[in-house]
């Protein structure tokens, strides 16, 4: 703090005026959008436009799908003041189990999927119970979980990759037909515009903007092969969980628990049940991510999903989630995942040597949070 020249302030009563509600501008989100725009501009110049080609943007969208699914769950976990380090390994394990059940054991496809969804949820619930009832810190429980799942993955695959048949990889590699894509986008955009008409001010702008994004994104995807199935899945899951976070008791209670655990407790909220619940949801989403990963890559390998938990955490944090709990949004996490995927994609296009990629991503992660902290102090 620097010394200030004596200031004669003509405004009366300096203390009690601060109560006026100010319109809340989502600075954090705007900074993120600005950073994303900057990254895209740099890459479109350095790749001479290749980055912005529909073909590449479609690839980008597919590349971010697995991280996005994990990040959707991770936001909820972190908002509740928890952390889950096991999701990458769990996704790998679930992907492999479903592929092996379908290919080697000839299970019907729905049965193979339902089995891993149930198992993922169960393993999430087990970890959540250890955190909630035995009071083991989530960092430790899920670090242990990560190691267990990694070992199990190696054990069940025996180090051999499994390539499931065509119907399995459908969900990872097919596209929504263009007409159907337009119909979906039109319906969503119409609903957004309806909301925009009923809202006012900043909210109206947000709804109208969302409608525009839905239409533009669909246009870009259809200019290539159509909306990729995994991307459609991400959007549906994000809408579902963003809605759950904002408009259900369970969602709001997660924010309350992460924001002030005591207050949540004294309000009669069962902290234990919510923690088990959020880890269960995370396990379920990890299983979905594992299936999508296997389908997209076309095979289940013994190191699938490794380090993906960190990408998911980074996406959530870049997207405005506070590791202290109580703050964060699903849409922000998707934005964060898009930033991370854009960096990967752009650097690959530029043939940047692969060692640079984690270095740049790490730097961006810390810088994003640094900008936010400085901005908050001002």
């Amino acid at each position: 703090m620097s010394a200030l020249q004596p200031v004669i302030d003509p405004a009366p009563s300096p203390v009690h005026v601060a109560a006026m509600p100010r319109p809340r501008i989502p600075w954090r989100a705007l900074t993120m959008v600005g950073a994303l725009a900057a990254i895209w501009i740099v890459f479109s110049i350095t790749t001479e436009g290749t980055f912005l080609m529909p073909r590449n943007l479609s690839l980008l969208a597919r590349q971010m799908s697995v991280t996005s699914i994990l990040a959707i769950g991770m936001v909820l976990v972190i908002v509740a003041g928890q952390i889950d380090l096991s999701v990458g390994a769990l996704a790998g394990l679930m992907g492999a189990l479903s592929a092996m059940a379908y290919t080697n054991r000839d299970w019907p496809l729905p049965a193979a999927f339902l089995m891993v969804l149930a198992l993922g949820a169960l393993l999430g619930a087990v970890q959540g119970s250890l955190v909630a009832w035995l009071k083991i810190p989530p960092f430790i429980v899920t670090l242990g979980g990560m190691l267990v799942f990694q070992g199990a993955l190696l054990g069940v695959t025996g180090g051999v990759s499994t390539s499931p048949g065509r119907s399995y990889v459908y969900i990872g590699q097919r596209y929504v037909p263009a007409t159907l894509g337009w119909m979906l986008a039109g319906a969503v955009a119409a609903w957004f515009l309806y909301r925009a008409a009923r809202a006012s001010g900043l909210k109206r702008l947000q709804w109208a903007g969302s409608a525009a994004i839905a239409l533009i994104a669909t246009g870009v995807m259809n200019a290539y092969e159509g909306i990729p199935m995994p991307v459609l899945l991400v959007v549906v899951l994000a809408a579902l969980f963003a809605g759950a976070a904002q408009h259900t008791r369970f969602g709001r209670h997660l924010y309350a628990i992460g924001g002030n655990r005591e207050a949540a407790f004294y309000s009669g909220i069962s902290i234990e049940r919510h923690i088990v619940g959020v880890f269960t949801v995370m396990g379920l989403l990890a299983a979905v991510a594992g299936v999508v990963l296997t389908a997209r890559v076309g095979s289940a390998t013994s190191d699938a999903g490794r380090m993906m938990e960190l990408d998911a955490i980074a996406a959530a944090v870049i997207g405005g989630t506070s590791l202290l709990g109580g703050q964060g949004t699903v849409w922000g996490a998707l934005l964060g995942a898009l930033v991370m995927a854009s960096l990967d994609n752009g650097m690959s296009l530029l043939n940047t040597e692969s060692f640079w990629q984690p270095i740049i991503k790490g730097g961006i992660l810390v810088a994003a949070v640094a900008v936010d902290m400085v901005g908050r102090r001002r």
Partner: protein, 505 residues
């Protein structure tokens, strides 16, 4: 028949009997105060009443309208119309006022939260306590007094018939506290009963119909308030007569220790506005200068900015111990070097490392003094800590006891000890007795007096008027960031201080 009856409640913790056959009853439409020193068992008793400790974990029984109650959760207690307003604020800072008001029982339609119902609910709840704020604001933007009212609104909105208020005014200004008491009075007219716990005995006498005193886990006495006096309640609480609570040392105007001129501090949230404007004052050797004023008047900003801990721009000149005139300190480290020490308002947040021992906490500010060639000299350190703990009469199993496990009064003594180790010339005390019991308060007053007699300059910020007037030689009163009065102790009365504190400038 009483509305609520607790019969010979006994509760054991490992190694300690916290409650020993306590009986207590509450009539319909009654405010019944529960008094006792910290550790007397008040908190345990209300935790049992509110379902925090489930049936079976204690002895005795609870009867509501003659029916025995058995519950295991706070929610079950709430279902019986018993609502707790806890000592620590139980609000979620990131959520809006409206969301906090419905937290735990949000209105739901088809699985989704019904936001229209939430807004309507919030409006009624806020109106009930006469609070005029935008329910869409996040709670973290509210002042602490407003937050407390939100919390009471929340309890009332659960259709509580019995309110259990644990130190509800501990963090409030007199005006806010008076408003709260008025609300409790209105609720009594409507048949809502309250169990009222407070260390502020004036409030107890103002609002309570009956008083029950707990001491060492037993109920010592229950009397109608009109049959009691403050002195009587205090002597029941401590089990001995307390005479002369405020031992103000004789005035001896020594040399000047701290001179402050033209002190102005910017508002950290709204730069350009000032929370303090053009404050001048002086503290002399052996003098206790009281700083009075309402919440938000800038008292805490004054002491923290002098201590180099402001988070906004500061202007003005000061000189310590007759030294040269200088600008504001840039950091607490500079202020400590110059001989200042600050015992801050919120000891848990700013004053203590709760998971660390007494010894570690006490030497936190003075560690360099106990190191030799970069290593700690544990013997020297422990000897000094021991001496200081004895001098302060800290009650603890030893100097390696974890601070978290001490009572509020002993924690405050540890903070004091930490600063006394630094051998300051001027000691700032910001609300040093908030939330601690009368016995410990009295010891802290003795200590302040002893320090002043040793020649320290003491600056005492307090919302407790009797304390402020009883301990200070002079009282500087702030109102809306301006100094509105500098009163000598003999001339100051609660009325003159309040008049200056509410003066418009």
């Amino acid at each position: 028949m009483a509305l609520l009856e607790l019969r010979s409640i006994t509760k054991d913790f490992p190694g300690v009997r916290a409650l020993d056959g306590v009986s207590f009853d509450l009539e319909e439409g009654e405010v019944h105060a529960l008094c006792g020193e910290n550790g007397a068992g008040k908190s345990t008793l209300i935790k049992i009443l509110c379902g925090f400790y489930p049936t079976g974990s204690y002895g005795g029984e609870i009867l509501l309208r003659g029916q025995p109650l058995h519950f295991r959760t706070l929610k079950a207690a709430e279902a019986h119309g018993i609502a707790l307003i806890a000592q620590e604020l139980a609000l979620v800072p990131e959520l809006t006022v409206a969301e906090n008001l419905v937290l735990g029982h949000e209105p739901v339609r088809r699985g989704l939260i019904d936001w229209d119902a939430v807004a309507a609910h919030a409006q009624t709840a806020l109106a009930r306590v006469g609070l005029d704020i935008d329910p869409e604001r996040p709670v973290k933007e509210l002042g602490i007094g407003q937050q407390q009212m939100v919390e009471i609104a929340k309890a009332l909105s659960k259709d509580a018939r019995i309110l259990v208020l644990d130190e509800p005014t501990a963090a409030l200004t007199d005006t806010d506290a008076q408003r709260l008491l008025a609300v409790i009075g209105e609720l009594r007219e409507k048949g809502v009963s309250s169990i009222y716990i407070s260390h502020r005995l004036e409030e107890v006498f103002q609002i309570a119909d009956r008083v029950t005193v707990l001491r060492d886990g037993r109920s010592v006495a229950t009397h109608p308030t009109r049959d009691l006096s403050t002195d009587k309640v205090i002597s029941l609480m401590v089990g001995r007569e307390v005479k002369n609570l405020y031992p103000r040392p004789p005035h001896s105007a020594g040399t000047s220790l701290l001179k402050v001129k033209g002190w102005s501090v910017e508002d950290p949230v709204n730069p350009g506005r000032q929370v303090l404007r053009d404050i001048d004052f002086e503290v002399r050797q052996g003098e206790v200068l009281g700083i009075g004023g309402l919440m938000g008047a800038g008292r805490t900003a004054l002491v923290s900015s002098l201590f180099g801990a402001a988070r906004s721009r500061v202007a003005g000149r000061l000189s310590v111990g007759g030294g040269p005139d200088r600008g504001p300190f840039e950091s607490p480290a500079e202020a400590i070097d110059a001989g200042l020490a600050l015992v801050s308002e919120d000891r848990k947040r700013y004053g203590l490392v709760l998971e660390a021992s007494i010894a570690e906490n006490m030497t936190l500010a003075t560690l360099p003094r106990f190191s030799r060639r970069g290593f700690l000299d544990h013997e020297a350190r422990e000897a000094q800590v021991k001496a200081q703990s004895d001098a302060l009469r800290i009650k603890a199993p030893g100097m390696f006891a974890i601070v978290n496990q001490l009572s509020g009064g002993n924690q405050q003594k540890v903070v004091l000890g930490k600063w006394l180790m630094a051998q300051p010339r001027v000691l700032f005390l910001d609300e040093p007795t908030r939330g601690i019991d009368v016995g410990a308060k009295s010891e802290i007053y003795q200590l302040i007096a002893a320090l002043a007699e040793r020649g320290l300059g003491v600056v005492l910020v307090s919302s407790d008027l009797p304390e402020l007037l009883g301990m200070s030689h002079r009282v500087l009163v702030l109102s809306l960031g301006r100094a509105t009065a500098d009163l000598a102790a003999d001339g100051a009365t609660p009325e003159t201080v309040m008049a200056a504190a509410t003066m418009k400038v």
